[in-house]
Symmetry: C2
């Protein structure tokens, strides 16, 4: 039998206060802010593009595109008419509250209803740093495997919504939505789990409904 | 047009010296050490399992399984008879040279020919910390998309080999092996690019051949 050893190091996160201040500002401005997290290649940008298109004419949307050093996603989102800014993290694996504040201030959020932060593609570090967003949403795509809640528990624990994406590929991969959902609920009983496909649109209306409901809650809070 | 701002922070990596010392020790012990990196769900464990099986009887293999806090992969590898140790990083997004040294010392490497470090699932942080391994290999799986070299350049720049995995799913995803390979070569002209499937075995013999060649180089260096 193999041994297990702990090789931890202390992660300092002094940004909780800054995040809380930012969250209060979003509230006052009546803006729904969403921290969107996932691993690379899970389809964050495709999901955001379809979301922007479906909400067109109903909500004014801003997108902060965090990338370690490329602009490809910001270009795609910008082309759809959402207000967009690119945050270059220069190698950093996550966005913290201070980076978020600088992004928000450079983009300008006046007149917006919903602001998405497309966080850096990573299932670990983004879950450890509070960005100050009102809601946290993560994407887990079918090709990544239904065991991921076992391996990246913090990300699942800190999310209000888990989108199980690329369900159009369910026939091709050995992925059980039921098993995966049960694993997520063990970690986070209050989490909303929405299976969907940004490619075919299956399940997408439940996501749009959740966004509209969450936005109404910001208005009436 | 959208704006771009830089939100970088300084990442301190004081472990280069320790990594180099570790690399010299591997050399003296005539062990090929491989840092295996990828995003979550790209199939690191499945690839390692098949690799251990194919090398059975030809090489003695050790595996350091780094996980933020689960044991699922170590159990799977241990069952195949490789010497295995689980490294719990307790939330840390990468393995550095010090963690590697502690893992190696706890597992014991006497009598081994090849030691794999299955690094934490993450395309960013593991590329920034030298683990002291002799070779770096990364996996990019077809469902993640052929644009990933544009988004995570450092990982591709620091790898000796890029395994384009899950090529059995090529018919299902919009992924061009040629485009992806061209993007990788722009970043890293000397990198070996091997398309393969750990599920069907397609392309796997080239990977096994590379491992055997790299091991012979360690012996004759």
């Amino acid at each position: 039998m193999f041994k297990t050893i702990r090789v931890e190091e202390r992660i300092t996160a002094a940004n909780d206060k800054e995040a809380e201040a930012l969250r209060q500002e979003w509230k006052k401005q009546e803006i729904l802010s969403i921290n969107l997290m996932s691993s690379p290649g899970s389809g964050k940008t495709t999901l955001l593009k379809r979301t922007v298109q479906e909400l067109h004419g109903r909500c004014r949307i801003g997108v902060l595109e965090a990338d370690i050093d490329s602009d490809v996603d910001a270009k795609a989102i910008d082309a759809l008419g959402a207000r967009t800014i690119q945050l270059h993290t220069d190698g950093m694996c996550h966005v913290d509250a201070d980076m978020m504040r600088r992004g928000v201030s450079a983009m300008g959020v006046e007149g917006l209803d919903i602001v998405f932060l497309e966080n850096v593609g990573n299932l670990i570090c983004p879950a450890e740093f509070d960005t100050g967003c009102g809601k946290s949403v993560m994407i887990l795509s079918v090709p990544e495997g239904d065991d991921k809640p076992l391996k990246y528990p913090l990300m699942f624990q800190t999310s209000d919504v888990v989108l199980l994406s690329k369900i159009d590929a369910l026939g091709y991969f050995d992925f059980s939505v039921e098993k995966c959902a049960a694993r997520i609920r063990l970690l986070n009983p209050h989490c909303l789990i929405l299976p969907l496909s940004a490619k075919t649109g299956e399940g997408f209306s439940a996501w749009i409904e959740w966004l509209e409901k969450a936005y109404r809650e910001v208005l009436h809070d």
